[in-house]
């Protein structure tokens, strides 16, 4: 009898241990996912912040550029650099066949002409002289140099030819290949060529969308929250508004994309693919989030504040605007920032309103076509070229960086400025 009891007790304790173990492993799993996730993004992405350059000696021969003697600055600007640039690449291997010459040309980005031109415009006295010029390596060589590209594949299965590799290895030996910080990733717009693609256009697109979103959503949401929390009579209509807000907060984001497409583009004829439409769509999406946050922080202001103001003879409107609202601002602001962070990461609605179009200019206003950072991630992730994989991860790092900064900012505002009522 006693033995049985002990057995039962032991099995019950074991069950207790097991249950605790399940709980611990659940948390461990969730955190493991997070770690793998972040590790994966960083390990594939950090190389994108480096860019491979070929240092090639360029002989600025006036004849190859079809220039007269003593060309003016204007002449230099209008000159044809293409043949000079081609010649530069061909000079790397003077015995190259025509097919090999083509390979040589493809070792650098198609900006090579522009890069040589920039060099000469910086220093016109170079004419007739030879100088080492940094040329952007093609994205395949870039990947080879970073070790992301297997070299031992058979030649017909990789995009770099044996010949290109041979020349490239020679250049490496001569110290003519250099890896430097990839500034163009931040300053160039999107491009079909991975080595020239940057996030400037989508970054500006995101900034404009978020600004439009802020300008529309913040005032409307704050005013609506003030009305619902402070002024609204308790009746069926305000109940209906409240139910609406709660439901809107849970409507899938893609439905807002359909709203943008069906109403903003089709009915109001706003320009497609622009941050303006994107921002309006996102603002409708973040509206409920901000309203809910603002109402919560209005609710947290103790009634004694309102009563004191009313007792001093302030009107209801003055009480609200001079006392309640300012006191609720820290909570409202941090809620707004969190809502904007959500909007910043949103992709699906922006795809539907056409912000997925290929844009290779940097937008200057919310009315120019643009992409946004998450959409840029989607566009690059869908493209087949190997060079884009690290770009996607790097773009994700930039996006996550922004989200972290925004969330930290929201935390700081909340902790620093919010009054604790005890």
């Amino acid at each position: 009898m006693n033995k049985n009891k002990e057995k039962l007790l032991n099995s019950r304790y074991r069950a207790e241990k097991r249950f605790q173990f399940y709980g611990k492993s659940a948390i461990f799993l969730a955190l493991l996912f997070l770690t793998i996730f972040i590790f994966k993004i960083f390990s594939t992405g950090y190389t994108a912040f480096q860019k491979t350059w070929l240092i090639v000696p360029v002989t600025f021969d006036a004849e190859t550029m079809y220039l007269d003697e003593n060309p003016s600055k204007e002449d230099l600007k209008d000159a044809d650099y293409f043949d000079l640039a081609l010649q530069t690449m061909f000079d790397l291997d003077k015995s190259a066949s025509e097919k090999q010459q083509n390979d040589l040309k493809r070792m650098v980005s198609y900006f090579f002409e522009r890069e040589i031109k920039r060099e000469l415009l910086n220093d016109p006295s170079l004419i007739g002289k030879t100088k080492d010029v940094y040329l952007t390596a093609s994205d395949d060589l870039d990947q080879v140099f970073k070790g992301n590209y297997p070299r031992d594949l058979p030649e017909d299965q990789r995009r770099v030819t044996d010949y290109q590799l041979k020349i490239f290895d020679q250049l490496v030996e001569q110290g003519r290949v250099e890896s430097k910080f990839n500034l163009s990733f931040f300053t160039y717009p999107d491009s079909r060529e991975a080595e020239l693609a940057g996030i400037a256009s989508s970054f500006m697109g995101s900034i404009f969308s978020i600004l439009v979103c802020l300008v529309i959503a913040f005032p409307v949401a704050v005013l609506a929250a003030i009305y619902l929390e402070e002024f609204a009579p308790k009746n069926r209509f305000t109940d209906f508004i409240e139910v609406n807000i709660n439901n809107l907060a849970a409507v899938p984001s893609i439905v807002f994309g359909l709203l943008g497409l069906g109403i903003l583009l089709a009915v109001f004829q706003l320009p497609r693919s622009t941050p303006l439409v994107g921002g309006i769509t996102l603002s409708l999406m973040t509206l409920p989030t901000i309203i809910i946050a603002c109402r919560a922080s209005l609710k947290a202001v103790p009634p004694s504040i309102r009563e004191a103001a009313l007792a001093m003879g302030a009107s209801k409107m003055q009480t609200t605007m001079h006392h309640t609202v300012p006191l609720s601002m820290p909570g409202t602001l941090s809620g707004t920032i969190i809502g904007l962070a959500q909007a910043l990461g949103e992709t699906a609605p922006l795809i539907l309103i056409g912000m997925v179009a290929f844009v290779n200019t940097i937008p200057g206003s919310p009315l120019d076509p643009a992409a946004s950072l998450p959409v840029q991630i989607y566009i690059w992730a869908e493209s087949a070229e190997r060079g884009f994989v690290e770009k996607v991860s790097a773009c994700i790092m930039v996006l996550l960086g922004f989200l972290i900064i925004m969330n930290l900012f929201a935390q700081i505002i909340r902790h620093k400025f919010e009054k604790k009522w005890s």
Partner: protein
């Protein structure tokens, strides 16, 4: 030009505030008692100055383009053009008047363009005149009211109240906007495709709807067996199911552990860390699923002799499950913490262990709330777009093999609407019909879940 008018109105509003306040002080100087604080005089005048002008300004901006278009196209009205052709003519006219037109310039078009420019300048001038007139009239009226020391606080506060009320309508307007944007296209869609075929058809090939000459009338028989939504409903359900298989055990167990076992220190760090998972944009999850999880599963499958598609439902569903973990864990954490302590104490007093208490007392008590949180998670899973678009297939296969690719409602909407859309085409309308379905499904899930959670809260609070 429009911007100049706008800035002008705003500046005028600000200056009139100071004029109003100054007037109040001058009234005060004559030893008359003011009816309100001086700034209310300012607000009063500013509102009178800016708001009527601003209303006219916005109405004008909304209606001017369509009226101009009507006048221009009235020249072409009895020549038997179709609506689309008329729109094209109008677009051509506009770009010609801007001097950006590259195409054949017919004399007709030229006269239209001239007329267009003419109309625009007339409209612009009359707008300026009208707005100036209104500003002057309303300022004079407002100033008179102030000078005779009428009440100013009440009207100003009434106005503010009206503004607040209008803002609170935004939520309703958004809902109405969603319903309107979906409903017309959906009705048009069901005019061509019978509702029955949509709900019970088993073939979904929207690409087939492309092969149509726009000038020919619609032939509904062409679309039989094209828009049968069963495969995508099944795919949506299936991927959501996989996601919940990942999210429920992990989310629920971590919720329980955090609420019942974890020390304050663990809770303090683990909870926000898990919630980071909810803050990561879904496109990032999609990339992760497509780049890492999909190929990983494929490798494992090949090693085990299974055929695994690189874009499998399992990869998309699994990653989606990870995304939903924090929703379920924090909600169930909240729900479990709000179970009254008395229930726990009673159970302990009877000699139950902690896990027995949780399993037999707390869990049943918290069940409605937990069900609510799971339903909210399901509604997330059903509405999730980017993970499926990037990690699962885009072709709608009717399959329940997690290793094959399937498609969902959201993914199909993106597939159909990415790129250029032609409104009035059954294919585009199909996307809106799917959107409507999605909206209704998630809406009912949410309403139901919120109701369950609310009922539960009322029980214990």
């Amino acid at each position: 030009m429009n911007l100049v008018i706008f800035i002008f109105i705003v500046l005028l509003g600000f200056t009139s505030y100071y004029f109003g306040r100054k007037k109040a002080y001058s009234i005060q100087a004559t030893n008359t008692r003011l009816t309100a604080l001086p700034q209310f005089y300012g607000y009063y005048l500013a509102i009178w100055c800016a708001i009527p002008a601003f209303i006219i300004y916005s109405l004008w901006a909304i209606f001017e383009p369509s009226i101009v278009k009507l006048i221009i196209l009235s020249d072409y009205s009895n020549q038997g053009y179709l609506d689309d052709e008329l729109n094209l003519i109008y677009e051509k006219t506009k770009s010609l008047s801007r001097g950006q037109f590259s195409g054949e310039i017919t004399p007709y078009l030229e006269t239209s363009a001239e007329k267009y420019l003419n109309l625009r300048s007339i409209a612009q001038n009359s707008k300026v005149v009208l707005i100036l007139a209104i500003i002057i009239a309303s300022i004079v009226y407002g100033y008179k009211r102030i000078s005779s020391n009428n009440r100013t606080r009440e009207p100003v506060e009434k106005f503010l109240n009206a503004v607040l009320f209008t803002a609170s309508l935004a939520a309703i307007l958004t809902t109405i906007g969603i319903v309107f944007s979906l409903i017309f296209q959906t009705i048009d869609f069901f005019k061509v495709i019978p509702l029955f075929d949509f709900i019970f058809g088993t073939h979904w090939y929207p690409a087939k709807a492309f092969v149509r000459d726009a000038s020919e009338p619609l032939d509904p028989s062409m679309y039989s067996d094209t828009f049968g939504a069963v495969p995508i409903f099944a795919g949506t359900f299936f991927i959501a199911l996989i996601a919940m298989c990942v999210a429920i055990p992990i989310g629920l167990m971590s919720g329980i552990y955090l609420a019942e076992y974890a020390s304050t220190k663990v809770r303090q760090y683990a909870k926000p860390l898990i919630e980071i998972l909810a803050g990561i944009p879904t496109v990032v999850y999609g990339f992760f699923a497509a780049l890492t999880v999909g190929p990983f599963l494929k490798d494992i499958g090949t090693a085990m002799g299974l055929e695994v598609s690189a874009e499998s439902a399992l990869a998309a569903g699994g990653v989606m499950g990870i995304m939903i973990i924090p929703f379920i864990s924090s909600l169930s954490d909240d729900v479990i913490t709000s179970v009254p302590q008395g229930l726990r104490d009673g159970s302990y007093a009877m000699g139950a262990t902690k896990s027995e208490t949780i399993k037999k007392v707390i869990f049943p008590a918290a069940l409605p709330g937990i069900v609510g949180s799971i339903l909210l998670g399901v509604s997330r899973a059903v509405g999730e777009t980017m993970i499926v678009v990037m990690a699962s297939g885009l072709a709608a296969n009717l399959t329940f093999n997690p290793l094959e690719s399937t498609s969902t409602i959201t993914a199909q909407i993106v597939v159909i609407l990415i790129g250029d859309q032609a409104f009035g085409d059954p294919k585009t309308q199909a996307a809106f019909a799917l959107g409507m379905t999605l909206f209704l499904v998630t809406l009912s899930l949410n309403i139901f879940a919120l109701r369950v959670v609310k009922k539960y809260r009322e029980k214990y609070e």
